[in-house]
């Protein structure tokens, strides 16, 4: 379980990096929330109030917990606050492998946000799944610092339980 949560963190970090390319400042507060049951974290920490927003996209919007076939379990990622609003995704696991991803919360302030969401979520999610299916023993890369290790793929490997 912990490994999956780390993978979620990595995905969110990547998404935040993508969002940071944006130059405009959102004018409408966002509070897209779901009833994320069955997960380890359900805090959708919107600080701004406002209305609940549904965002179009390829991935299921909202929690899949309670709608899953036997053998699949839902794990909510930790909500990450970005400059454009909170981001939270949910991973569906089967035999400790990620098989599906749902978007619980993503920024939806403007058309631009929606476009980025539609592009970035599928890409990042497929990469997360690819990384875990590579069946690797270790990761080689330019030296990470002690702090950088936390977000590294090696750290996800070390947390295997």
């Amino acid at each position: 379980m912990r490994r999956v949560i780390l993978a979620v963190t990595g995905t969110i970090a990547g998404l935040v990096a993508l969002l940071s390319f944006k130059s405009h400042v959102p004018s409408v507060p966002v509070a897209a929330t779901t009833g994320g049951s069955g997960g380890t974290s359900s805090s959708s920490s919107s600080s701004s109030g406002g209305q609940t927003t549904t965002v179009p996209g390829e991935f299921p919007q909202g929690s899949l917990a309670g709608k899953l076939p036997a053998g699949e379990t839902a794990v909510d990622g930790k909500a990450a606050n970005t400059a454009y609003g909170p981001v939270q995704i949910q991973l569906i696991e089967q035999n400790s492998k990620i098989v599906k991803v749902a978007v619980l919360v993503q920024p939806a302030n403007t058309l631009h946000d929606i476009q980025i969401g539609a592009f970035a979520f599928p890409k990042l999610i497929s990469e997360t799944i690819a990384a875990q299916t590579a069946k690797i023993d270790a990761v080689s890369g330019a030296s990470y610092t002690s702090a950088g290790y936390i977000q590294s793929l090696q750290s996800a490997l070390d947390k295997r339980a």
């Binding site: 970090a13 990384a131 270790a138 990761v139 080689s140 330019a142 290790y149 490997l157 339980a161």
Partner: protein, 253 residues
């Protein structure tokens, strides 16, 4: 930070030497603070840090560097390391240096050497299968096929490819995590051209030092590595293109 892993296996991550060293060892290697090989390896790495860190005023490296002590009064391992560094400097045409910032700093060799020695502690204790990863530089021991993912320097969190091998070492130098920390000794500037270069060899001390030298060389590294027996390289350029030496394909996982 000790995780579970496969049955009979032990994973442990130790914060040391300014990075994290990850162990994948038999469960019977014991506890990180115990008397078994895992404890021995962890204590060894902290000793190396205390002795060789250029960031600690009281390390042998710092004291020797500022002329406070003669080499003969330092840990004998320091002379051993400096001899090895001198040989690698010659073999790399001066691209590997123990004075990258002007003061004594053999870190480009020490980390890989310390990890290689840490792995040897498990071998001496009877382990036939283990790996030790020092912040992205990996020594794999054992006849099974080890699979090592190569981080993509241009797309953090992603792998560029996977290399596989038995009893081998994989080291990557680049700009991915720490920024431009390698300097071309001939220009005094960060090298242009490569985002990262991965070297594959047998033992990590040399493999890691060669990766550092190769990164400083930039695109010229390709011809240099072709001329090195027992080493292969894979590079990703700053523009996202890749190249590899002629024998690298044997390691593609």
């Amino acid at each position: 930070m000790t995780g579970g892993g496969a049955p009979g296996r032990r994973r442990h991550a130790e914060h040391v030497m300014g990075t994290v060293v990850s162990f994948d060892v038999p469960a019977r290697a014991g506890e990180p603070r115990g008397e078994g090989p895992l404890g021995q390896a962890v204590r060894w790495l902290h000793w190396v840090d205390a002795t060789f860190s250029p960031y600690r005023d009281d390390s042998d490296v710092s004291r020797l560097g500022r002329g406070a002590v003669p080499l003969a009064e330092c840990a004998p391992e320091l002379a051993e390391v400096l001899d090895a560094c001198a040989a690698i400097s010659v073999r790399s045409g001066g691209y590997f240096t123990t004075t990258p910032g002007g003061t004594l700093d053999p870190s480009g060799y020490v980390k890989g050497w310390a990890i290689e020695r840490a792995a040897a502690i498990f071998t001496a204790a009877g382990s036939a299968e283990h790996s030790v990863n020092g912040g992205g530089d990996v020594q794999c021991v054992g006849s099974r096929m080890w699979r090592v993912g190569i981080a993509d320097p241009l797309r953090p969190g992603r792998l560029a490819l996977v290399v596989a091998g038995q009893d081998f070492a994989v080291a990557t130098s680049g700009v991915a995590e720490r920024g431009a920390h390698i300097i071309d000794p001939y220009t005094g500037q960060p090298p242009a051209g490569l985002a990262s270069i991965t070297m594959v060899g047998t033992t990590l001390a040399e493999t890691d030092a060669f990766a550092t030298a190769a990164f400083a060389m930039g695109s010229a590294a390709r011809d240099w590595v072709e001329g090195l027996d027992g080493y292969e390289a894979f590079a990703i350029t700053a523009a996202g293109a890749t190249w590899q030496t002629s024998g690298f394909g044997a390691y593609l996982g």
